[in-house]
Amino acid sequence: MAAENYSMVKALNEALRRSLEADPKTLVMGEDVGRLGGVFRVTDGLHKDFGDARIIDTPLAESGIMGTAIGLALRGYRPVVEIQFDGFVYPAFDQIVTQLAKMHARALGHVKLPITVRIPFGGGIGAVEHHSESHEAYFAHTAGLKVVSPSNPVDAHWMLRQAIASDDPVIFLEPKRRYWDKGVVDPLGEAPAPLHSARVARPGRDLTLIAYGPMVKVCLEAAEAAAEDGHQIEVVDLRSLSPVDFDTLEASVKRTGRAVVVHEAPVFMGMGSELAARITERCFYSLEAPVLRVGGYFAPYPPSRVEETYLPDLDRVLDAVDRALAF
């Protein structure tokens, strides 16, 4: 089978299928992942082909899902957990932070927990409360977890396969508003890059826009718009939020002298805060402007009819680009 035009959902589905085929210890577990195929259909068809024993519809209890996934991993399995929506990971948060993240260290390396936690995250789909959260900072703040977020179907496919193959716990944040974007994926090919590497999604020399997951597309559009005004904007797709590929960021910002970080999550204490601080440390003498951040406000994610105000869009990114360029 050659390369195919896949939606992100299909790219993820195909990644799960390949991983299940490659390793009989790989399991998929979560709410409604079986016959329904998940509320976003990411696990569509897997139950039919791999059966009850490997595609596990769990009771409605996220702490239970996470805790039993840990037990299964201790027994040599490789669970891929689906959390139905971002806002419902919190019942599992205790297991993730106090157990999943720390067990390898506590056992002095004798225990490995190769668990992938897939979470559809972020807003922009007009959903009700708790279905639009961006909680990446909570996870990235926790040593022992790896955190990644693809921005397009190709990365979604390969990064999920890499995450499942990883012997560390990986929080895999799927930008749900990009689920239906298309891309050409060749499942028989090779992963385009290591899991924890950033990627220059668009080269430029005047300023570096840094984003991940859902905001990469917005930044690419902003770079396109800025080009009409004669500004060459570089866009770096971070891909991995922990660890962060600071070398790629440093190289970019040292060339451009300016950086703007964009995410949906609130700016305060968000990923952008850490990125800005590290970039400043590494690139201080190359910087022409402070590293600016564009993100959600310090307020609960709003009702869907005003979410467009809350979410960074082309205009807000360009506004920050202009401010950075004006320094």
Binding site: E31, L36, P59, F88, V128, H130, A299, P300, P303, T309
Partner: protein
């Protein structure tokens, strides 16, 4: 006899189901639960059931028309909600999930209030103290703990109010729900756990959550559990009243499992044809919660065609009011994002609000310039 899988044996014995009105509309007696109803009260119950169903149907239609982003229909669960809702006194509190439109109705909450969050103009927005009806809760099971804590407060205050905590069969698996059972039991809290077992948690059947009938779980926590015909409004009313009386009398919590069926999709986003067979639906159609009340009213000659027509007309009026109300619901002002984040205010919220206002104003300016040209 060979012992088969435990799943088979555990559910083999048909558990007792409290019923006072059969699907055919026959009034039957139950040794433990009795109910006195006047014809007038029955007509009022019928009216509630019909209006609630009509409201729900209208909301589904409004979602299809794009006026709501989502709707979680209560179709099939009217009796469980109207029965348990009517059992409450005004001082009692209800802690709902996202599907308790019928309970809200009985508590006197304006149905339009329920639609704001489904339209996407707020996250609830009503004042829970106004009708003692807490905000809808989307995170499965959370509200059962709030209900228990509220009930603990009632005990401390020494009043005879009580609380009803609503949740689903799926929710029965959540840690929060089981912790609520524990707290309620330990503190002998005046709370009624009202579980609507509608047989499904999205695509997962109840067997995915439990191998014993849900009401039996209560025994392990140290309080009584009762399974009631959730499509029998009279049984739901009688059993909830009984449980609330127990709560008021200091006898502690009760678990009621209202055995019912989710006749529609989980929400308007769901496609149940992917996971359940139509036969099941047909079977439950024969147990419709409204038809049996109507049959009873007709048999006893407590209502005539004029009455039924009047209720239908009223339900159409309600639908019209809801339709118009929803269409006229204004989108929130963007600055409302920053409203009510804190009771005492917060410097960063204020700062970001000011930044946003300035930013938004910069567009007004440019638009004006554009228009001027």
């Amino acid at each position: 006899m060979t012992v088969e899988s435990t799943a088979g044996t555990a559910t083999a014995a048909v558990p007792e189901l409290v019923q006072l009105l059969t699907p055919e509309g026959e009034r039957v007696e139950h040794p433990r639960f009795s109910l006195e109803t006047t014809p007038e009260e029955l007509r009022s119950i019928y009216r509630d059931l019909v209006l609630v169903r009509r409201f729900d149907g209208e909301a589904t239609a409004l979602q299809r028309q794009g006026e709501l982003g989502l709707w979680a229909s209560l179709l099939g669960q009217e009796a469980a909600q109207v029965g348990s809702g009517r059992a409450q006194r005004p001082g009692d509190w209800a802690f709902p999930t996202y599907r308790e439109h019928g309970v809200a109705w009985c508590k006197g909450v304006d149905p339009l209030n329920l639609l704001g969050m489904f339209r996407g103009v707020n996250h609830g927005g009503w004042d829970p103290y106004e009708k003692n009806f807490q905000l809808y809760t989307i995170v499965i099971g959370s509200q059962t703990l709030h209900a228990t804590g509220y009930a603990m407060g009632i005990t401390k205050d020494g009043t005879d109010d009580a609380v009803v905590a609503y949740f689903g069969d799926g929710a029965s698996s959540q840690g929060d729900v089981n912790e609520a059972f524990t707290f309620a039991s330990v503190y002998n809290a005046p709370v009624v756990f009202f579980c609507q077992n509608n047989q499904w948690a999205i695509s997962e059947p109840t067997e995915r959550q439990t191998r014993v009938p849900l009401y039996q779980r209560a025994a392990g926590f140290g309080f009584p559990g009762v399974r009631v015909d959730g499509n029998d409004v009279l049984a739901c009313l009688a059993v909830t009243r009984w449980a609330l009386e127990r709560a008021r009398n200091g006898e502690g919590p009760t678990l009621i499992e209202a055995f019912t069926y989710r006749m529609g999709a989980h929400t308007t986003s769901d496609d149940p044809t992917r996971y359940r067979i139509a036969d099941e639906l047909e079977e439950w159609k024969l147990k419709d919660p409204i038809e049996r009340v109507k049959a009873y009213l007709v048999r006893e000659e407590w209502a005539d065609q004029e009455f039924f027509d009047a209720v239908d007309a009223e339900s159409e009026q309600l639908a019209r009011r809801v339709r118009e109300g929803v269409r006229n619901m204004p989108d929130p002002d963007p600055t409302s994002i920053f409203g009510h984040v804190y009771a005492e205010g917060h410097a960063l919220v204020d700062e970001e609000r000011a930044q946003y206002v300035e930013y938004a104003a910069s567009f007004d300016g440019s638009e004006e310039v554009g228009e001027g040209r």
